[in-house]
Subunit: 222 residues, 2 copies
DNA sequence: CACTTTGCATATCGTCGTTATATAACACTG
DNA sequence: CAGTGTTATATAACGACGATATGCAAAGTG
């Protein structure tokens, strides 16, 4: 179906240029002509290597999914699984903020030149949840969460953080209810609803956020 | 700034046609030429009445905000404020599903022909929260929720339902964790986190959903 | 009546994604 | 080495897009 690149070097260059253009100048800057100029080639390269703009965007989206997955996988597994859940949420949010336009294409349904996701693409997105599901299951096994459907709880957390991120990217979260405040509140609510009594006892989650991708929610933990 | 329509008839016809095209054929169908053909006029009408495609989209978005606001305002105020909160969430979701493409433009940052929201537009979106804030405050006053920041709780609910709706519209919520299941779970979690003991005691929220825009969460209520 | 203003159709410009065509580089056969 | 088929890329072109300029007819005004 999709033509395999014979010279993967130029193919990678195109994806890199596309990602850079999308990140730095937004979706409006992504065009075959602009892309060709940036990569030092002609517009035909897009078609010989990818078959069209759609498939190039699709390849970029796939890279975005693996980046997100790498980011989630890099979150250290500590002895406090509930803290790990919060850290995963923060990692998810940070990845979205760093690749905001790409995130919009991946999950927000941002119509990039009429681009539409396929079910296969979405499957890559759902795959990201597996790390979160496992961590939630660890919370339940450790008695930190009340026993239940780990996958459903993971979905809830995904939905909540995704909602936060999209509203944040859309500019809808402003002071005093800015994204940081709401993020802490969302994580806290999810932990409480999952049955985490320690989170329920914690006064506020807006403490120091020094460690990267880790929420200080488990500050009162032994 | 924005030119006032001298013949509001054609202006309304254009907005209607644009809304219909967006709803029925998606963002790709919205073009000045197509719009002119549907309205039986020329492409110039878009510029004389609105000043450009951007402003026409803006006018449509504004209509979308008032539609959403009307929908939320139409939710009956019952004696059970927690049930009203859930009903508002369902009304929000139903409005988004009925105007899915418009919702994407309003909140999802869907780039419709390079269209970008202004802060004034976003203010219209935030205004919708006021109804929810009042209802949450009623919950707190009635002792149904533990006392706290009603505006923050309303934001949390907004974020959660918005996240659900966008993932639902993006096709990311499939069985067995489909949108209905996740919606019930989100509402339930929010009520529990807000301190609603009745919701916490309720086994599941996935009971009969017969009454329009009303969640049966308060089934165990006197 | 003449004169200005207004509303909309037509034609045009530059850019978009895409395709057709032409050319140049390559691999292989004899 | 010549000849041949394949592949990669550049160039040019097509239809459609948003936007603008121009032109013209109807309405308004003295």
């Amino acid at each position: 179906m999709s033509p395999r690149p014979a010279h993967p070097e130029l193919s990678a260059t195109l994806i890199e240029a596309a990602a850079r253009l999308l990140a730095e100048e937004g979706p409006g800057a992504l065009s075959t002509r602009r892309l060709a100029a940036e990569a030092g080639t002609s517009t035909m390269a897009v078609y010989t290597y990818f078959g069209g703009m759609d498939d190039l965007v699709r390849a970029m989206v796939r890279e975005g999914f693996t980046m997100l997955n790498d980011r989630m996988s890099a979150v250290a597994e500590t002895g406090d699984p509930a803290s790990d859940v919060a850290a995963l949420g923060l990692a998810y949010r940070r990845n979205a903020l760093e690749h905001r336009h790409l995130y919009g294409v991946m999950f927000g349904g941002s119509n990039l030149a009429g681009f539409r996701l396929t079910d296969e693409d979405r499957q890559h997105g759902r795959y990201t949840l597996e790390i979160l599901v496992k961590t939630v299951a660890r919370c339940m096994a450790a008695g930190r969460f009340s026993a239940g459907d780990a996958e459903l709880v993971a979905h809830q957390m995904w939905i909540a953080v995704h909602g936060l991120v999209t509203l944040e990217l859309g500019g809808y979260l402003v002071e005093p209810y800015d994204a940081d405040t709401c993020f802490d509140a969302q994580i806290r609510s999810l932990l409480i609803a999952a049955g985490d009594e320690i989170a329920a006892a914690t006064q506020s989650a807006a403490a120091s956020r020094t460690r990267p991708d880790v929420q200080p929610l488990a500050a009162g933990r032994p």
